[in-house]
């Protein structure tokens, strides 16, 4: 049960693809409550009656009128604007065309969300530096997402015509032939022939009129009916691609969103670290020094009248100083261990391992040293994992391995403790995963109940 975190697997892309739905795969659908219940019928026979199929069919049917409107609007406005470009008036008309297409984009995304279950994030908003109509027009004309919305308006129409015809034909043919046994009597009664004419050249024709032929016709209709949902689904796949590709945020802006959230994590982590350091100073060394000052103050006053009491107080104060020094040393190491800067990961991790309550084997197999920032993150990752092992695992032994593959720095910390460590349960591990994510690293936790626990971290060698 490996849980993977990282830009490739984590929430990073969540906003882009919606709730984990692939943009093109048909399975991206909330299937109207049928959920994962066991079904009596296989999927192939069930499909024509599923709400999902009907929604997709509805989407395709709606596509045509919407496409006509959108296409007419876009083409009219753009040709109007383009034609007027020689005069200044063309620009606002063009801007209006683009603004309209963006607005249509909002509706189209909503339609895709409602009927196809496709979650597409809004494209990047217009970035205007100054308020005012002119700046807004400029931003509209410059933004890639406006032009992509226009392209959608143009491309969606021919596809809508095609998919509408195909879907409606298959649907009508399927249900029509399937129900043929119920209405074939129309022919002898009203049309003067035995049944549907399959072939005819004036001399003779083939009519579907005997029971065998009627049954076969109904079976063919059944095949069409069963095939229709899958054909419609295949058709909507193209719509999904169109909506996702042209009405969503561009790849670049999705990356920007991801980096913005990474930067947020980095800033938050830095602020939390500063708060922690301040707290440690406040509760630790600073409090000790106040107590020390108090002891010395008392001793000073006592010196003349009660030298023995004063000597005892100086003695206590001496003890306080030593404790304060120890605390300051620990705090400084917590901020950044000097040995890491001086001697690198091997020496620093050996020191951490020696402070762990569990015997730890450390093996660092690196020819050269990674970038200082990466080295620091690697150090704190391992030291936090070892702290976890000391506190929670109940392990008897542990090991730390550090090596390099290509341009990644790999860390692995293994212990033989109780296991059951989990990234999702708001533990220190989740914070660790976030920190690694912020530098495009990955944390993989493999910890079945009963152990052993294996935590692997991957960091970029340099960035």
């Amino acid at each position: 049960m490996a849980t993977q975190y990282g830009p490739q697997y984590g929430q990073g892309y969540g906003s882009q693809y919606g709730q984990g739905y692939g943009p093109y795969s048909g399975d991206g659908f909330h299937d109207g409550g049928t959920g994962r219940r066991r079904h009596l019928l296989p999927a192939g026979l069930r499909a024509p009656f599923e709400a999902r199929s009907w929604r997709e069919f509805g989407y395709v049917l709606l596509s045509l009128p919407i496409g006509i409107m959108l296409f007419t609007y876009a083409v009219t406005m753009v040709s109007l604007g383009a034609g007027m470009l020689v005069t200044f008036l063309g620009i606002p008309v063009l801007a209006a065309a683009l603004a309209g297409c963006r607005l249509f984009g909002v509706l189209e995304r909503a339609r895709a969300r409602g009927l196809l279950g496709l979650e597409v994030a809004e494209p990047e908003p217009l970035r205007t530096k100054k308020p005012g109509v002119l700046a807004w027009t400029g931003a509209l004309l410059k933004s890639g997402s406006s032009w992509r919305a226009l392209l959608y308006a143009v491309l969606q129409f021919p596809w809508a015509v095609f998919s509408f015809s195909v879907a409606l034909t298959f649907w009508a043919l399927g249900w029509g032939l399937l129900t043929y046994p119920l209405w074939f009597w129309v022919f002898p009664m009203w049309a003067g022939q035995g049944g549907i004419q399959l072939y005819g050249d004036g001399h003779h024709g083939i009519y579907l009129d005997n029971p065998f032929e009627i049954t076969v016709t109904a079976l063919v209709g059944l095949l069409f009916t069963l095939a229709t949902p899958w054909i419609v689904r295949a058709l909507t796949t193209v719509d999904r691609v169109l909506v996702h590709g042209l009405l969503g945020p561009s790849r670049l802006s999705a990356r920007v969103v991801e980096l913005e959230s990474d930067r947020g994590v980095v800033v938050d982590t830095a602020a939390a670290d500063l708060r922690r350091i301040e707290r440690d100073l406040h509760d630790g060394a600073q409090a000790r020094l106040v107590a020390l000052a108090m002891d010395l103050g008392l001793a000073k006053e006592k010196l003349a009248e009660d030298p023995r009491a004063a000597a005892r107080m100086v003695d206590e104060a001496h003890g306080e100083v030593k404790t304060a020094l120890q605390e300051l040393r620990d705090l400084a190491r917590g901020i950044h261990p000097a040995v890491l800067t001086d001697r690198g990961l091997d020496a620093a991790l050996s020191a951490v391992a020696s402070r762990c309550t569990v015997p730890v084997r450390v093996e660092v197999d690196l020819v050269e040293r990674p970038a200082p920032a990466i080295e620091g993150i690697a150090y704190f990752t391992v030291s936090e994992l070892l702290q976890n092992i000391s506190k929670h695992s109940g392990a008897r032994s542990a090991s730390v391995d550090v090596w390099r593959t290509e341009n990644r720095l790999m860390l692995q910390v293994v212990d033989d403790g109780a296991g059951g460590a989990d990234l999702s349960r708001g533990s220190g591990l989740a914070g660790l995963a976030e920190r690694l994510d912020a530098v495009d690293g990955i944390l993989v936790v493999d910890s079945p109940a009963g152990g052993p626990t294996r935590v692997t971290a991957e960091l970029p060698w340099r960035r």
Partner: protein, 245 residues
């Protein structure tokens, strides 16, 4: 995590300076401080001077509870010495508790201790009245005599403001042009006045005569355009209001 203990101290043996001259001068103190080390240190410091530490608690909630209980037994202490930062949030619960206690028990002196002094907290504490208020850096406990003096002063309804707070107030004040008109000595006296010291304490500190201090004080009041008031703690408030306005 209510940590509460009581102790009393026999006042028969010899005491250092700053202690009460008579048993009636003995100050009854409640200490609120989350660091056990400092709480014990403070207790020792005060009991050593012959004062009585009625209770010691570790957080603001326990402080308010203890004071309420003592009030119900009509055994309200003279002064509360409280740390600003205490559990559970480790922010400013000490100040908030102090403000609350001052409102509920106007006669109770409150001395707030902190690793840092902020002029904002001082303003909150002093809101309305400067009677029986103190706000000092924790470092001040090193000067045992002065610290115990401050505790006694606050217990008796006086004021004890940290020199750093006063310096912040003086530096931040918008009356810089008027302040610039004071002589260096007058500025010194103004600072000590703002800290809450009496004329005789100022005279002792600056090693000048009582009359000289009185002259400086009336000069200062004249230059700042304040009407001289008689009570020491009222004059603190007048000075602070002036600096803050």
């Amino acid at each position: 995590m209510l940590e509460c203990w009581t102790m009393s101290y026999a006042t028969t043996d010899e005491r250092g300076c700053g202690g009460p001259r008579n048993v009636e001068d003995r100050v009854r103190v409640v200490i609120a401080e989350d660091s056990v080390l400092l709480r014990e240190g403070l207790t020792r410091l005060l009991t050593d001077r012959g004062h009585e530490v009625v209770a010691g608690v570790g957080d603001a909630e326990a402080l308010i509870k203890t004071i309420t209980e003592l009030h119900d037994q009509s055994a309200l202490p003279d002064v509360v010495v409280a740390d600003v930062r205490m559990p559970p949030t480790h922010t400013d619960e000490g100040v908030r508790a102090a403000v609350q206690l001052r409102r509920a028990h106007p006669g109770l002196g409150v001395l707030v201790l902190s690793q840092y002094v902020e002029e904002r907290y001082a303003t909150e504490l002093l809101a309305g009245s400067s009677r029986g208020v103190g706000y000092l850096l924790k470092d001040r406990v090193a000067e045992v005599r002065e610290f115990v003096d401050a505790v006694v002063r606050v217990a008796e309804g006086g004021t004890a403001l940290d020199p750093e707070v006063v310096a912040q107030l003086l530096g931040r004040s918008r009356k810089q042009d008027v302040l610039a008109g004071l002589t260096p000595r007058e500025r010194e006296v103004l600072g000590l006045m703002a800290e809450g010291r009496t004329n005789s304490a100022i005279a002792r500190q600056l090693v000048v005569s009582h009359g000289a201090v009185e002259k400086h004080v009336s000069n200062i009041f004249l230059k700042l355009g304040l009407s001289p008031s008689d009570g020491d703690h009222r004059r603190v408030l007048a000075v602070l209001t002036y600096l803050n306005s």
